[in-house]
């Protein structure tokens, strides 16, 4: 049962982690850690109502820990580490990836909480109520925070739009 949860959710949890972290390798490590922590709860008889939200919550906490740990590392350093190799899909050419990279760098520049909200909403396609459930805050609060985060992101990604 536990491994079927891995089969169902590992892809999206990884995508969330890879969006939030500077290295895809670290994202893989935290993916494994996410499921190990979830397994410990499962093995002790815990059965979260919403497994997906529960996994996201663990992953989110791991990312927060990671940010705390790397607080002293400069952002430039973190962004430098981001490996963007040649696309494996020829359809996804370099200009396509350049825009993607810009978006990722911009998300990495946001404060941790705002980056998390943007990733959940726009990368993980979670709706407001799901995000609220993962983060343990109200839907209204989530909307407000997300709105602020998106405004900041717009300024970073499209500074001329405001002019």
């Amino acid at each position: 049962m536990f491994l079927s949860a891995y089969d169902s959710h590992s892809g999206e949890i990884y995508r969330h982690l890879a969006t939030r972290l500077s290295s895809t390798e670290r994202a893989e490590e935290l993916l494994q850690e996410t499921f190990l922590r979830a397994w410990k709860v499962f093995s002790e008889g815990g059965r979260p109502d919403n497994v997906r939200a529960y996994l996201y919550r663990i992953a989110t906490n791991l990312v927060i820990d990671e940010y705390r740990r790397k607080k002293e590392e400069s952002l430039d350093e973190v962004l430098e580490q981001t490996p963007w190799k040649e696309p494996s899909d020829p359809a996804q050419d370099s200009s396509y990836l350049a825009l993607a990279r810009e978006a990722k760098d911009a998300i990495m520049k946001l404060p941790e909480e705002e980056g998390r909200l943007v990733a959940m909403r726009y990368i993980d396609d979670m709706d407001i109520s799901e995000i609220a459930e993962v983060l343990g805050i109200t839907a209204n609060n989530t909307s407000v925070k997300l709105h602020r985060a998106v405004q900041k992101l717009r300024k970073i990604l499209d500074p001329k739009a405001d002019e």
Binding site: F2, L3, Y6, D7, S10, G11, Y14, R15, A18, T19, S23, T24, E25, E28, E29, L31, Q32, E33, F35, L36, W39, S43, Q81, P83, W84, K85, P87, S88, D89, Q92, Y96, L97, L99, A100, R101, E102, A103, K104, A106, I107, Y122, I123, D125, L153, R154, L157, D158, A161
Partner: protein, 354 residues
């Protein structure tokens, strides 16, 4: 779709955010391994007569296995239980290692365990050449594995992790050398003498004449090869500057391994006398080539050389070797710092303060 949305859309569909099926399978298989190990180690929860009464025999087996497993931990190559240590206990430790950092930590631990086995054998089985050879081969193998993983880590943006563990392994090996020098001074001296002879061959060729301070070649007649190139075999000073910290440490470990391999395969080890002679000669060359040294440091180095020569002339070859060797290490410490652009004065002060 505006520019903002397009960028996010591209990111969302970027191949970099997709977990490849082989990586996914690898992580899944890691999880399965860890879960199965942790399940087998976890205690049954809740009370059940069945759990108490039925597996009495299993319990006995488990106790026996536990004792065997623990006993195996103290075994060394050639012991009956050694296979359990290396084929059961250690692979379990390896399976629990998580991520690249876990893996490299595990490999470093294996080096430490193999070094400890060599030390035990040197004490317990002093005359058992076969055991010694197997233990050295095992140690070399563990170093080889460590080097491989450290290199992989360094290549995949974990230079600091790789460097940190490489430094740990280097420290383990240094301490191992010291222990071996204490418990098996004869082997240790021979091994060191041999490696020194190999490293300093070029000097010997360059400096004809008899051994001794009086026969010192003038400063201007330096050998064709740079002194610093001899410390890290086959790597010039310039090349060394281009290497990362991890690579330098790994190279040193590799050289050490090569020396041991040579020791195993050949009985043609030079005498301690020869080793001491070469080492003192090497120290003399270093002093002759000194430039930009603090006056105090130069004075101390010369005193060490004089004393080493005295010891050599009175037949105390081991002591002469050690004295010259320590002086050379100090000099090389300075040279390394000089190459990395740090202040010699500060480093000397730090070192003295230690």
């Amino acid at each position: 779709m505006n520019n903002f949305e397009k960028k996010l859309h591209n990111l969302k569909n970027s191949p970099h955010l997709r977990l490849s099926s082989d990586r996914s399978s690898l992580i899944r298989s890691n999880l399965e391994k860890i879960i199965s190990i942790e399940e087998s180690l976890s205690r049954p929860s809740g009370f059940s007569w069945r759990r108490i009464l039925v597996p009495v025999s299993s319990g006995v087996v488990a106790v026996v296995l536990g004792v065997v497993t623990l006993g195996a931990e103290a075994s060394v190559p050639g012991d009956v239980l050694y296979a359990i240590k290396t084929k059961v206990n250690e692979p379990i430790m390896g399976a629990i290692a998580r991520g690249q950092e876990g893996e490299i930590a595990y490999r470093a631990k294996m080096v430490s365990r193999r070094a400890a086995e060599n030390e035990i054998i040197a004490v317990r089985y002093e005359k058992d050449k076969e055991k010694k050879e197997v233990a050295i081969k095992m140690l070399n193998k563990s170093l080889e594995n460590f080097e491989e993983h450290a290199r992989l880590a360094a290549e995949s943006q974990k230079q600091s992790v790789a460097a940190s563990y490489a430094a740990q392994v280097e420290a383990v090996m240094e301490s191992h050398q010291n222990i071996m020098a204490t418990v098996s001074p004869k082997d240790s001296q021979k091994a060191r003498a041999k490696s020194v002879v190999r490293k300093e061959e070029d000097f010997s060729e360059a400096s004809s004449g008899e051994f001794g301070l009086m026969s010192a070649a003038p400063v201007g007649s330096a050998p064709a090869q740079d002194i610093s190139a001899i410390e890290v075999n086959d790597v010039s000073a310039q090349e060394e500057e281009d290497l990362s910290e991890t690579e330098i440490v790994l190279l040193k470990i590799k050289n050490q391994r090569a020396e041991w391999e040579t020791n195993i395969s050949s009985d043609n080890t030079p005498s301690v006398e020869e080793g001491a002679k070469r080492r003192v000669e090497y120290l003399r060359k270093k002093i002759n080539k000194s430039s930009g040294w603090e006056a105090d440091f130069l004075k101390r180095s010369k005193e060490s050389l004089d004393l080493a020569l005295d010891l050599y002339s009175t037949g105390s070859y081991g002591e002469a070797f050690n004295l010259a060797n320590n002086a050379i290490k100090d000099i090389e410490f300075l040279e390394r710092n000089e190459r990395s652009g740090r202040s010699l004065k500060v480093e000397i002060g730090d070192k003295e303060g230690e």
